[in-house]
C-alpha cells in the first residue's frame, strides 16, 4: 500500500476524534489559549463571532489568514476556519494556511447560491451545516466528513438547533420504516437528491453516516446537555462563550456538561453561579432575510 493522504477515511477519522467534545469559536490567540485550557477539543478561528457578524452587517468573509495563522501557532489542539458557501478559493487559501478542517458555513455570506464546494478535491476535511436529512446527505455526497445542525447562529437561542436535530432524527426513523423495495428507495433518493447507495448506507447504519454535531444557538451548559441528549456527537459553541460575562467559567462548564450530559447532578453543579450568559434573541424577531439557516440548502 502506497502512502495516501487526504482519503475519506482520514477525513472522517479526524471528525471521529472530536466526538464528545466542544469546539469553540475564537477571534484571537488569547481566546484560543483560553479555549484549549478550558478543555475544548478544537477551536474555530474567525474574524468575528456570529453575534457580531449579525450586528455588523455587510458581507461576512473568511478571516484574515494572518489571524488564523496566529491562532494555529498559539494552540496544540486542531484549528478550524470558515469559508463562504461555494467559495472554492477561500477554501483553498484556508487549506494552504495549515488549518485542520474547513467549515463551509452559512454564518458567512454565501458566494454561490447554486452549488456548494466539491469537497472531495481537498486534502483536509470539511464540516457543513444541515437543517434536515436531505441537506445533510447532500453535503456528505459532496464530500463533507462531518455534519452539524445549522441552528440559528449568533442568537444564543437553542430552539432552531433543537428543531434541526429532531427533524433529522425523525427523518432517520422514517427511513427505517420505509418499504425496502427498489422503487421506493429510488424515489426517496430522488426526493433527497442523493445517490441510492448513500441512502442505502444511511438506512443500514440507522444514523447520519458521519459524525454529527450540534451548532447554532448553544449558550449554556444546559443547552449543550440538551443537544447531547438529542443524539449529538458533540457541540460547537459560537458566541455563547466569549459573549458571556465570564468566558472561562462558561467554557469549562459547557465542556463538563457535554461530557456529563445525562447526569443532572453534575449539570446542576456546573450551572451554578456562572454569571450572565449571552443576551440572545428571539427567533421571531429576526427578519426572514437575516436568517442564516436558509442559506445553502
Amino acid at each position: 500500500m502506497e502512502l495516501q493522504k487526504g482519503t475519506q477515511k482520514l477525513k472522517e477519522g479526524f471528525a471521529k476524534m472530536q466526538k464528545g467534545g466542544v469546539i469553540m469559536d475564537v477571534v484571537t490567540s488569547e481566546q484560543a489559549k483560553l479555549a484549549e485550557k478550558s478543555g475544548a477539543v478544537a477551536v474555530m478561528a474567525l474574524h468575528a463571532v456570529p453575534a457580531d457578524i449579525r450586528v455588523n452587517g455587510g458581507v461576512a468573509r473568511m478571516a484574515d489568514p494572518s489571524i488564523i495563522r496566529s491562532i494555529i501557532d498559539s494552540v496544540t489542539i486542531p484549528v478550524m476556519a470558515k469559508c463562504r458557501i461555494g467559495h472554492v478559493a477561500e477554501a483553498q487559501i484556508i487549506q494552504e494556511i495549515g488549518v485542520d478542517m474547513i467549515d463551509e458555513s452559512e454564518v458567512l455570506t454565501p458566494a454561490d447560491e447554486e452549488a456548494h464546494i466539491d469537497k472531495k478535491k481537498f486534502t483536509i476535511p470539511f464540516v457543513c451545516g444541515a437543517r434536515n436529512l436531505g441537506e445533510a446527505l447532500r453535503r456528505i455526497n459532496e464530500g463533507a466528513a462531518m455534519i452539524r445542525t445549522k441552528g440559528e447562529p449568533g442568537t444564543g437561542n437553542v430552539v432552531e438547533a433543537v428543531r434541526h436535530m429532531k427533524r433529522i432524527n425523525q427523518e432517520i426513523y422514517e427511513l427505517k420504516t420505509l418499504k425496502r423495495n427498489e422503487i421506493t428507495i429510488r424515489n426517496k433518493a430522488d426526493e433527497l437528491r442523493i445517490p441510492v447507495e448513500l441512502l442505502e448506507k444511511t438506512i443500514e447504519i440507522g444514523r447520519i453516516p458521519v459524525v454529527n454535531f450540534a451548532a447554532g444557538g448553544i449558550a449554556t451548559p444546559a443547552d449543550a446537555a440538551l443537544m447531547m441528549q438529542l443524539g449529538s456527537d458533540g457541540v460547537f459553541v459560537g458566541s455563547g462563550i466569549f459573549k458571556s460575562d465570564n468566558p472561562e467559567r462558561f467554557a469549562r462548564a459547557i465542556v463538563e456538561a457535554t461530557k456529563h450530559y445525562d447526569d443532572p447532578k453534575v449539570l446542576l453543579e456546573v450551572s451554578k453561579g456562572l454569571g450572565v450568559p449571552m443576551k440572545g434573541s428571539d427567533i421571531s424577531t429576526i427578519p426572514k432575510e437575516q436568517r442564516m439557516q436558509d442559506r445553502g440548502v
Binding site: 500500500m1 493522504k5 477515511k9 466526538k19 467534545g21 475544548a40 496544540t76 495549515g98
Partner: protein
C-alpha cells in the same frame, strides 16, 4: 472477560465495535466505579489535552494509573499512547496535560504536522506482519528505555511499543476493518 473503553472523548464507539467483532464483551467507562470487573482497558484517540483534563477532574485518572501499575492490560491508541508515556515533548509540555507515566517512553505529540499531513500507510507490526496504519495528527515515540520495546516503525520512527501489560500505537486500528491488533491486545489479557 470484559474490556473497558475509556469513554471521556474521542473514538470510543469504534473501539467498542471492534471488540464486538472480536467476540469480546465491552463496557463504555465514564466513571471510576465502572472499572471493577474489567479485565483490560483501551484508551482511545481523541484530544489528549481534553481527555487528560477531564479525567483528572474525576477519580478515573488515579484509578487507571493504579490499575496499570498493578498489571492490568491497557492499550492506548494515538491520544491514548500520549497519556501512557512517562515523558512528552515540548508540544506536550505547552498544554501541561498530566500523563499516566506508565510506559518507559518519550513521545512527541502531533509529530507529522496538521491534518493535511495525516496519512494511511502499510506498516510492519512485530508479531502480526503487514498492517494498515491510519495516522491522524499522530504522535510518535521518540525513544524507549527499560522494559519498553518498539513493535513497529514507520519511516524510521517508532509508532508502536509494548511494556509487559501495556501496549501503545500511534495509529488507529479502530478505524480499519482489520481486527488483528485488537486480538493482539486481547491475547495479552
Amino acid at each position: 472477560m470484559i474490556i473497558g473503553v475509556v469513554g471521556i472523548q474521542g473514538a470510543v464507539s469504534e473501539h467498542l465495535d471492534m471488540l464486538k467483532k472480536c467476540n469480546v464483551d465491552s463496557l463504555w467507562i465514564r466513571k471510576a466505579e465502572q472499572l471493577c470487573g474489567v479485565s483490560g482497558l483501551i484508551i482511545p484517540g481523541g484530544e489528549s489535552t481534553t481527555i487528560s483534563k477531564l479525567m483528572r477532574e474525576s477519580s478515573l485518572f488515579d484509578s487507571i494509573v493504579d490499575l496499570g501499575k498493578g498489571g492490568m492490560p491497557i492499550y492506548g491508541t494515538c491520544a491514548g499512547l500520549v497519556l501512557l508515556a512517562k515523558q512528552g515533548c515540548e508540544n506536550v509540555k505547552k498544554t501541561e496535560p498530566k500523563l499516566f507515566g506508565l510506559m518507559d517512553m518519550k513521545i512527541c505529540r502531533n509529530a507529522f504536522g496538521n491534518q493535511k499531513e495525516s496519512f494511511e500507510a502499510e506498516i510492519d507490526f512485530e508479531g502480526i506482519g503487514k498492517y494498515p496504519g491510519v495516522f491522524i495528527r499522530a504522535p510518535i515515540i521518540d525513544k524507549t528505555w527499560g522494559n519498553c520495546k518498539p513493535l513497529s516503525f514507520y519511516d524510521g520512527k517508532i509508532v508502536a511499543a509494548k511494556q509487559s501489560n501495556l501496549l501503545a500505537t500511534s495509529f488507529h486500528p479502530e478505524l480499519t476493518d482489520d481486527i488483528r491488533l485488537h486480538e493482539f491486545f486481547i491475547d495479552m489479557i
